[in-house]
């Protein structure tokens, strides 16, 4: 649903998200503007819809970065063990030691604000989660007899990693991916809200919240709807992830 | 010898993926005072479900005792209210499992766990109960019993843990001990020790034992009488000498022929073709007929009944009459 909205944004949105009518500033919801207008007279519904596009883009790229980096690091750490594993996991521990969003802020502080850097920051911030889950899964799998059988047959390390270990780790990776989608959205919105991510006038939910702040009392709808959008999508991904976990878990056991 | 426990036409079913799995499909047997009664069969034949049904420990859902009767002395166990049944468990009927680690609580010392059980069932004081626990550990030939009482389960070897488990379950002098594969997880030399211990304790305490196992050697060494189970039914029941010297049911014969012997040479192993049937889609007639080399006209239509073929020797097979459908 969320993905559909994001893809069809140009069709669904009744107005151009960036064109405002200054005569229509801070209008409450009406038949003309379902969710009202913001301080520059832009239609909030359209901006929320276009915001979905930006959010989805951020989520996909950031989670992809985390997925690829984290999975590779976790695989090599778990499979080779020893010094390799120690180096990788200590580095992940350092990343995890930063309280929440500060790591992302620190990354942006180095790279500077902007959409691309926001994606990078939110992605790197999620790498340790993937690395840990994949490593744990590889550690338990590599003791299994079918992996020994592969080594006895003369399979190379790369083949064992990608033909035997990775396919059997897919379930936890998929679950983590959906759950991370939610976290990344929160992180990205948070950063944009602080002015460190997407820059106005682009429609992004966090940035919209930020610009709505001065009008919280006089025009609460300007902040309410982007906030609601964030909440619904985060909840959606979390529920989806939980559902996936439930449906994949029985098969994990056997 | 009087009858201690009598099971009559017991049906226990499980619901799995919308299908009814007939784990026990009408079994009847009795255990006499002071005897060791063996239930033997392969994976999924229902031997463990039998034990759990007697103790009314079938997880519901998905399992349920559908019909039948289990009479223990003068009491009908299936009619007891749950609190009375709890009093029977552990005090009058107790059970030891294949892996004692799962039934011992890992965070309590051995002595403490035994003390709790003894206090609960015998109403002894704390220090008296602990003394009774140590005496019981000595009774199962645990060297340095007092030291072992102060240890945690994970500090003990597999054989020691099974001894502790036996001491725990026998501490209330139950009339019936159910032993579900008690030596399967143990090495053969440790198994020999535990079997000897069970035999001695049975003689000393007069406890009846329901011994569930897949190991025919254990049956030969321990049991007085034996029931052979296949796909939720008892197919043959006899005294231990009769069933080893003159097995009658084709499944029993096949099973006996399939075992490689340690004490004798066997040129070839007999093979029972095929595999055990799906308990939710049992074959018509005799459940064994699709794998049986001696099947004939009635086998795929009529379920054979238990028929006497000798003194205390009963078989459910059309080769020996098998009876008309009741």
């Amino acid at each position: 649903m969320f993905v559909l909205v994001a893809l069809l944004a140009p069709l669904l949105a009744p107005y151009d998200p960036n064109e405002g009518e200054l005569g229509q500033r801070l209008k409450p919801p009406s038949a003309e503007h379902w969710l009202g207008t913001d301080a520059l007279g832009r239609d909030i519904l359209s901006r929320v819809i276009y915001g979905a596009q930006v959010s989805l883009q951020i989520q996909l790229v950031a989670v992809l970065i985390a997925l690829v980096l984290g999975t590779l690091l976790g695989m090599f750490g778990g499979y080779y063990g020893g010094v390799t594993d120690n180096l990788i996991m200590r580095f992940m521990d350092i990343l995890l030691a930063f309280p929440g969003i500060f790591l992302a802020i620190a990354i942006i502080a180095v790279l500077g604000p902007g959409l691309l850097n926001l994606m990078l920051a939110a992605g790197i911030y999620s790498v340790p989660q993937f690395a840990r889950i994949v490593r744990g899964s590889i550690l338990s799998l590599k003791e299994k007899e079918f992996v020994e059988a592969a080594r006895a047959a003369g399979e190379s390390d790369a083949a064992i990693l990608f033909r035997y270990l990775l396919p059997n780790s897919m379930a936890p990776i998929i679950i983590q991916t959906t759950l991370r989608m939610a976290t990344v959205l929160l992180t990205a919105s948070g950063l944009s809200f602080l002015g460190l991510g997407v820059q106005p006038p682009r429609a992004e939910w966090g940035a919209m919240l930020s610009t709505a702040r001065p009008y919280l009392i006089t025009a609460p709808h300007v902040a309410t709807f982007p906030g609601l959008a964030i909440m619904l999508v985060v909840m959606g991904f979390n529920l989806f992830g939980d559902g996936l976990r439930d449906s994949l878990d029985p098969r994990l056991k056997d | 010898m009087g009858t201690l426990l009598r099971v009559d036409d017991l049906h226990t079913h499980f619901l799995s993926a919308g299908k009814v799995v007939k784990a026990l499909d009408g079994i009847s047997f009795e255990i006499r005072e002071g005897e060791v009664f063996g239930v033997v069969g392969e994976t999924g034949c229902g031997k463990s479900v039998t034990a759990l049904s007697i103790l009314r420990l079938i997880p519901f859902p998905p399992g349920r005792i559908v019909s039948g009767a289990i009479r223990f002395r003068e009491t009908e166990l299936l009619a007891l209210p749950p609190d009375r049944m709890r009093a029977v468990r552990g005090k009058e009927i107790s059970m030891i499992f294949q892996e004692p680690m799962t039934s011992l609580n890992p965070v309590f010392r051995v002595g403490e766990q035994m003390r709790e059980v003894i206090m609960l069932h015998q109403g002894l004081g704390k220090s008296e109960a602990l003394e009774a626990a140590v005496r019981m550990l000595e009774r199962v030939r645990i060297p340095e019993a007092r030291k072992v009482a102060g240890q945690y389960p994970h500090q003990l070897s597999g054989g020691m843990r099974q001894r502790v488990m036996i001491a725990l379950e026998l501490s209330c002098r139950p009339a019936l001990l159910i032993a579900d594969e008690p030596t399967t997880a143990l090495d053969v030399t440790i198994q020999a020790q535990i079997l000897k211990l069970l035999n001695e304790l049975k003689r000393e305490m007069g406890t009846s034992i329901l011994l569930i196992t897949h190991d025919l050697g254990v049956v030969a060494q321990m049991c007085d009488r034996v029931a052979v189970m296949y796909a939720g039914s008892i197919v043959e029941e006899a005294g231990v000498a009769a069933i080893f010297e003159n097995p009658r049911h084709p499944y029993t014969q096949g099973l006996w022929g399939a075992i490689p012997l340690a004490h004798d040479e066997k040129p070839t192993l007999a093979v029972i073709p095929g595999a055990v049937p799906d308990l939710s889609r049992l074959p018509e007639g005799c459940k064994f007929h699709p794998r049986c080399g001696r099947r004939f006209a009635p086998c795929d239509r009529i379920r054979p009944q238990m028929t006497a073929v000798g003194d205390g020797h009963r078989v459910a097979c059309h080769l020996y009459g098998g009876g008309e459908p009741s």
Binding site: F146, A153, G154, R163, P167 | T189, A192, A258, I259, V271
Partner: protein, 320 residues
């Protein structure tokens, strides 16, 4: 061509483990100087109780774990000295069958991939012929060709073990290490698998190292038997000699502990009391002396040598 396919000398594996809060490093002497040889076409049974090191011996021979010391000569070639690259092409000649028919097959591969991969790795088949060749093997182990495209979870335990056997035979090996191949199976299925393995041995000219704790199974399948206790072989002899007149006191106790199938012969005497000592600190001298009925004073001081007797039997005991 030598008559001996496999020669093992002084094979040793010490696992390092850290234990306790102090992270103290200790060594588990899992395998501690093992010698034996297997002739072509023969089955050597390796029997012992849990923790005696028999499984580790199998893994060491296949170089699935690296030995701490000793030599393994396969077909006259020293394996322990080879690096991974030079070992790889030799792997097709020695394969393994595992105990657990559920853990030993990759759940994400079809039967065709599981059995076909070893052929592809060693360049024994092209993609187009793979299914044909796998189909032949499936037929040889008693499965149907049509089951090629199925996944392991669609099979019963006995059928999965047949798939594991087909995989081991895919590269036409000379030596097959069978590590408790029937221990997870029911008696009637075990009989099917044992008969199959005997049949395949004749058809493919296989040499087996058959590892098991089940003495009946070992007696049925083996030509010669080696008995392990705490990381060492204590006795090795032809099957007939070993079972009719075991020499080592441990072998005697082990055989006597197997419950007899004759209910009129109830064994009241238990020859072996207590538990196996820890392989971290094995007893000095003979490792069995702490539980041995015949222990002499020298047994606790002097380690008996494992050596052949005039009749060709090997035993490590001061009594002989």
């Amino acid at each position: 061509m030598s008559a001996l396919l496999l020669e093992v000398e002084g094979l040793t594996k010490h696992f390092a483990v850290t234990r306790g809060m102090a992270r103290e490093k200790v060594f588990v002497r899992a395998v501690d100087g093992v010698d034996f040889a297997i002739a072509r076409g023969e089955t050597l049974g390796l029997v012992g109780e849990s923790g005696c090191g028999k499984t580790t011996v199998g893994r060491l021979i296949l170089r699935l774990i690296e030995p701490t010391g000793g030599a393994v000569r396969f077909d006259g070639r020293e394996l322990t000295a080879l690096d991974r690259k030079r070992l790889q092409p030799l792997r097709r000649s020695f394969q393994i069958i595992f105990q657990d028919p559920f853990a030993s097959l990759n759940p994400r591969m079809t039967v065709s991939e599981i059995v076909g991969r070893p052929m592809e790795i060693h360049g024994l088949t092209r993609r187009a012929e793979r299914d044909e060749k796998v189909g032949e093997l499936l037929a040889a182990v008693g499965l149907r060709r049509e089951q090629l495209a199925r996944y392991p979870h669609e099979f019963s335990g006995g059928q999965r073990q047949r798939i594991g056997i087909a995989r081991a035979l895919a590269t036409r090996p000379q030596l097959v290490v069978a590590d408790e191949p029937t221990s997870a199976l029911d008696v009637s299925v075990q009989a099917q698998i044992l008969n199959l393995m005997k049949d395949l041995q004749g058809r493919f000219g296989l040499t087996y190292l058959f590892i098991s704790h089940n003495i009946g199974v070992i007696r049925h399948i083996s030509d010669r038997v080696a008995v392990m206790y705490l990381g060492k072989i204590v006795e090795m002899a032809g099957k007939g000699a070993l079972f009719s007149k075991p020499l080592h006191p441990y072998t005697q106790a082990l055989l006597a502990a197997v419950p007899s199938l004759d209910p009129r012969r109830r064994q009241e005497e238990v020859l072996l009391e207590g538990d196996v000592p820890s392989p971290v600190n094995p007893p000095p001298g003979c490792r069995f002396h702490t539980r041995c009925r015949f222990a002499l004073p020298r047994c606790s001081r002097e380690e008996p040598e494992f050596r052949p007797r005039a009749d060709g039997r090997w035993v490590a005991c001061h009594l002989y």
